[in-house]
Structure formats: structure tokens, C-alpha cells
């Protein structure tokens, strides 16, 4: 896969560190993600992925190091960051007891879409996902795979510069999982940067570049093809196994 032109950097971080007491959850990570790139953020349980992601989303302050997200500083411009990113996780995504339309209206409203934009967006979104018949159904009644696709579409409803996806496809069937990645590709084509964590190693292959965290540090960062070459491995699964096997700590 061709990485997009490195014209603009969506995320730049330099020796970003988070310290909890004696425990260094994130240890001087340095990486940059280009605008429109699909970036796989991998690591074993407890490697520090969630902590790093929280800092990048403007939810917690780093202990040391620098980082900018969508051009905004993670120390001083957290509110600006939040306006320019989307976020979706396996656990919380949508309100189960609201209908599909109500969820779209709610999240669109939060991000300040006008009524006109909102109407156009929800029509477009429901058509893309083929949810016309279900638009007035409660989200809780949908199959998991649909929920996740809907949650992703809602997370990018305000056309953010970057969307953070935390294990978005956990437990989703293999067909729907691939449909989900189609949505990611489509978003990337529109210039949205996708920052993804996953436990499925085949999904790591779908990323332009992948970083693998071990014990709070970024141990490897390159395209899947180069990583396989470097570690003499047939699959990303093997690369991951070689790196993470030596991990000292759990979550």
C-alpha cells in the first residue's frame, strides 16, 4: 500500500512520556502520522497504548515530551484538539436506548453541525450504511457489527482531521469486519487520518504503517511489508510475537 504524500503531519510526538508514580506507562515515544494515513497502533496488554492514546486525544497531560495533534499542542490546546478529532472504542460508542437517527442528531449536535448539515449528513450516512429501514430503530437492537459501523460513521460525522479507533472490531464477524475496514479506507481517501488499535493481526496488514509498543516504548515502526522483512517473518502475527514475547509487564 502506498503511504499518502507526507505533505502534512496529523500527529507529531517527540519523546512523549507519562509517569504514574514510579511507573512509566509511556516511555519517550516518538512518532509522526501523516494526514490521511491509516496508522496501526499495536502492543500487548499493558504496553501503554491506552495511556498514549489518552494523551493524544487531549484527555490527560503528558509528564514530559512534546506532541501536536492536528497542529495543536497537547499541553495548551486540548480543547482545540477535541474539536478536531473523532473517537470510537469497542466499549462506549453509541446510546443503545436512542434510535439511529437520534444518535446521529445528538452527536452531530455536540460537534456543532447546523440543522441543514445534520440533515444532509444523516441522509448520506444512512444511505451509505444501507440503514433506511432501521433508521428509527433503537441502536440496542442492532447486531454488533452494524453498531460498530454506525459508531465509526458517527465518530467522523464532523469531518475531523483524525479519528482514533480503539479496538473497533473486537468480536465482530469476519465479513462485517472487512466492511468496517472499507469504511476506514473511504475515510482515509477523504483525507481523514485513522489511528487504530487492534488485536487482529491480519488487520495490522491493512495499515499504511504500524507501530508496536512493548513496555511503554515503541519497539518497531514501519510499513507491514518492511517489518516482515526486518524480522524475517511471514506475517505480522510473527513480528508481533517476536517483539511482545519479551514484554516484562502486563496491564
Amino acid at each position: 500500500m502506498q503511504p499518502p504524500p507526507a505533505s502534512a503531519q496529523a500527529i507529531v510526538c517527540h519523546e512523549l512520556t507519562k509517569q504514574f508514580g514510579d511507573f512509566r506507562a509511556v516511555d519517550k515515544i516518538t512518532l509522526s502520522v501523516a494526514q490521511g494515513e491509516i496508522f496501526g497502533f499495536l502492543g500487548a496488554n499493558g504496553a501503554g497504548k491506552t495511556t498514549a492514546m489518552r494523551m493524544l486525544c487531549g484527555l490527560s497531560y503528558p509528564s514530559a515530551g512534546q506532541a501536536t495533534v492536528a497542529g495543536f499542542d497537547v499541553y495548551r490546546q486540548q480543547e482545540k484538539i477535541k474539536q478536531n478529532i473523532g473517537y470510537m472504542s469497542q466499549k462506549f460508542s453509541l446510546y443503545e436506548n436512542l434510535t439511529i437517527l437520534e444518535n446521529i442528531e445528538f452527536f452531530g449536535g455536540i460537534y456543532g453541525l447546523s440543522n441543514q448539515q445534520l440533515r444532509a449528513k444523516s441522509e448520506e450516512l444512512i444511505t451509505t450504511l444501507g440503514l433506511h429501514k432501521e433508521a428509527k430503530k433503537l441502536v440496542g437492537s442492532l447486531p454488533l457489527g452494524w453498531k460498530q459501523k454506525l459508531a465509526f460513521s458517527v465518530a467522523i460525522i464532523h469531518e475531523p482531521k483524525i479519528v482514533f479507533l480503539d479496538e473497533p472490531t473486537g468480536g465482530v464477524d469476519p465479513v462485517t469486519r472487512r466492511q468496517f475496514w472499507d469504511l476506514i479506507y473511504a475515510a482515509a481517501d477523504r483525507g481523514i487520518t485513522n489511528f487504530v488499535t487492534t488485536h487482529y493481526m491480519d488487520e495490522a496488514e491493512y495499515c499504511n504503517r504500524v507501530s508496536i509498543m512493548v513496555d511503554g516504548r515503541v519497539e518497531a515502526l514501519d510499513s507491514p511489508a518492511n517489518l516482515k522483512l526486518q524480522y524475517h517473518a511471514d506475517s505480522m502475527d510473527e513480528v508481533f510475537y517476536q517483539l511482545a514475547r519479551g514484554a516484562q509487564r502486563g496491564e
Binding site: 496488554n45 454488533l144 468480536g171 466492511q179 508481533f240 510475537y241 514484554a247
Partner: protein, 316 residues
């Protein structure tokens, strides 16, 4: 007589409006390592809860060790081991306290069956005075397995033991299960990860409450209709679009660094025709090679073939 049998089991929720298990029948032989493979919502947990006597089926019969799950539930409860999907230990008790509590509950002691858990327990023993809530995911999983094994169960039910666990811990866990099988324990395990299916002796592929296929992993792969090709080119995303528009292809979907392509009716020159088609679309770095399908390929094939699965139709 199988260690576990199910006959026409059906289970609904919400007063019959949500169908969770739809007429499922299968048998697990004594000493077998049997896997229920399927995504969330396939009905795996419902089946496990019916077999462990936690839920009653709407209709159908099931037995564990020859005991009926409805009538002889007490007999089943004292012989089986069960690890639910949720982390099911007391977070505020230490590793040792958890283990000895469950040992007492099952009217045994840690010492009595220590040989069975020895290998697993030794890995967490250095932390035996630590509270379970402070263990890492992999260690919690090992402790939960020890607790489920402490009374030397005849049948072990493991509901999604590897969900949310990283690839390294998953591998270790399956190695442990392989060794437990040597001890003669019948093991039923469920997982959403298709790549784990080959670790089982026999598997049932499940989707929306139904069994799509049930056999040994090798036979399930063998049953894949026709040939499967892995295709790669420099520009992967356009490649997928072009392959989907290719009329001879039955299905095309991303699979790791490749796109997997199956044809409607297999011709000898399928690959050559495809190469020309792609070259015509100005693709470079084209790689086309025949491959052996994986369980996941077969699952996708079965899912897309079954018309009942209305929401799984898109991968053409």
C-alpha cells in the same frame, strides 16, 4: 455416549422476540477439545449457559456426562468446570485466597489436585499474595483457569477465554489447553478469533444462533468450494475495487496483505485472465497465487452463502 450432547436446542430472549440459539444439535466426545467459533451474538454464550445449567432452553434436550441439564443440574454442577466470559474472580481477594475459596467450594483442597494446575499455577505463584484485581490480563486468565480446574472437572467449559487478550498470551493459553487435553479432560471452548480454530480437534462454526458447519478444521477447509487465490498489487485499495467489479469473481475481500479471490466456476486459466484484467486497469507489482483456504475463508464463504444472514451480504 458423548461427554456433551445437544439435541434441537432452541433459546430465545425477550419473550421470544430475540432468537439466540436456533435448533442446534451436536455431540462432543469424551476427551475431545471442541471449539465453538463465531462472532459476538452467534449464540456461543447461550449454549455454554444452557450446558452449565445456568439457563433453561426453550426446547430441545442436552446432557453433560450423561446427566440431563434440566433434571440433573446438581450432578452437573458438581463435576464440570466453568470459566465465564467475564473476568470472574474476586478482585479484592489475593491469588491464593481466590484459589483456596474455589477449592473449598468444590469440596476439595489445593493440595489434592495440585498436579493438574501445577504448571499453570507456578507462573502466578510469585504473586500469590497480590490481589487479583492488580494482576495483568494474562495472569488473571491463568488464575481463572486454575480456579476452574481445581476440582479436576470431567468437562471444562471456557467461554471466550482469549477475548481482549493480546496475541502472545493467546498463544500461551492455547498451549496450556493442549496440555490439559492430555490429562483426559473434555474441553469446550468458544472464541471469536478464527485463527484459533485450528488448535481444536473439532469445531462448530456459528453465526446468528445457527451452526454453519461442524467438523475437524481440516475437513472444514477441505469443504471449501473451488480454488482460492491470493492477489496483491502495489495499490491495494484500488485493487479491491477492481476485483469486486470483476464479473468472474465470486467473492473478493481483504485478507492481511492480500486480497482473497474466489471464482464462480473454476477454470484452469482463472489466474491468467485475472492478471490480464488487472494489467488492463494499470496495476503494477501484481502477485497472484493459489492458496489453501483458512477457517476464516470458509467462514466468510458460509456466511455469504447463507441467505438467512441478511446483514452479511456485502462482500461480493
Amino acid at each position: 455416549m458423548g461427554a456433551v450432547t445437544l439435541q434441537n436446542i432452541r433459546k430465545t430472549y425477550e419473550k421470544g422476540t430475540v432468537l439466540a440459539v436456533d435448533d442446534v444439535s451436536f455431540t462432543v466426545e469424551p476427551g475431545e477439545l471442541f471449539g465453538l467459533i463465531g462472532p459476538d451474538g452467534a449464540g456461543k454464550t447461550s449454549i455454554f449457559r444452557i450446558l452449565t445449567t445456568l439457563l433453561l432452553a426453550d426446547s430441545g434436550t442436552a446432557t453433560v456426562d450423561g446427566h440431563d441439564v434440566r433434571k440433573d443440574y446438581r450432578a452437573i454442577r458438581s463435576t464440570v468446570g466453568y470459566m465465564p466470559g467475564k473476568f470472574s474472580l474476586y478482585q479484592d481477594l489475593t491469588v491464593e485466597e481466590n484459589l483456596s475459596f474455589f477449592a473449598t467450594l468444590f469440596e476439595t483442597t489445593i493440595a489434592a489436585n495440585y498436579d493438574l494446575i501445577k504448571e499453570i499455577y507456578e507462573q502466578i505463584e510469585p504473586f500469590k499474595t497480590r490481589r487479583a484485581g492488580q494482576l495483568s490480563g494474562g495472569m488473571k486468565q491463568k488464575l481463572a483457569l486454575c480456579c476452574a480446574l481445581i476440582h479436576k472437572p470431567t468437562v471444562l467449559f471456557l467461554d471466550e477465554p482469549t477475548t481482549g487478550v493480546d496475541a502472545v498470551s493467546r498463544k500461551e493459553f492455547w498451549d496450556m489447553l493442549g496440555r490439559l487435553k492430555q490429562q483426559g479432560i473434555t474441553i469446550l471452548v468458544s472464541t471469536p478469533y478464527m485463527d484459533e480454530a485450528t488448535r481444536c480437534e473439532r469445531i462448530a462454526l456459528m453465526q446468528s444462533g445457527k451452526i454453519l458447519s461442524i467438523d475437524t478444521p481440516a475437513n472444514i477447509i477441505k469443504a471449501y468450494p473451488g480454488k482460492l487465490y491470493a492477489v496483491k498489487a502495489d495499490a491495494m485499495h484500488p485493487l479491491l475495487h477492481h476485483l469486486r467489479a470483476y464479473p468472474a469473481a465470486r467473492s473478493s475481500y481483504a485478507f492481511g496483505e492480500f486480497v482473497h479471490v474466489a471464482f464462480w466456476d473454476d477454470q484452469a486459466d482463472d489466474d491468467e485472465a485475472l492478471r490480464q484484467y488487472l494489467a488492463g486497469k494499470k496495476h503494477t507489482g501484481i502477485v497472484i497465487k493459489p492458496i489453501t483456504p483458512s477457517i476464516e475463508d470458509r467462514f466468510i464463504d458460509l456466511m455469504t452463502a447463507a441467505p438467512a444472514n441478511a446483514h452479511a451480504t456485502a462482500t461480493r
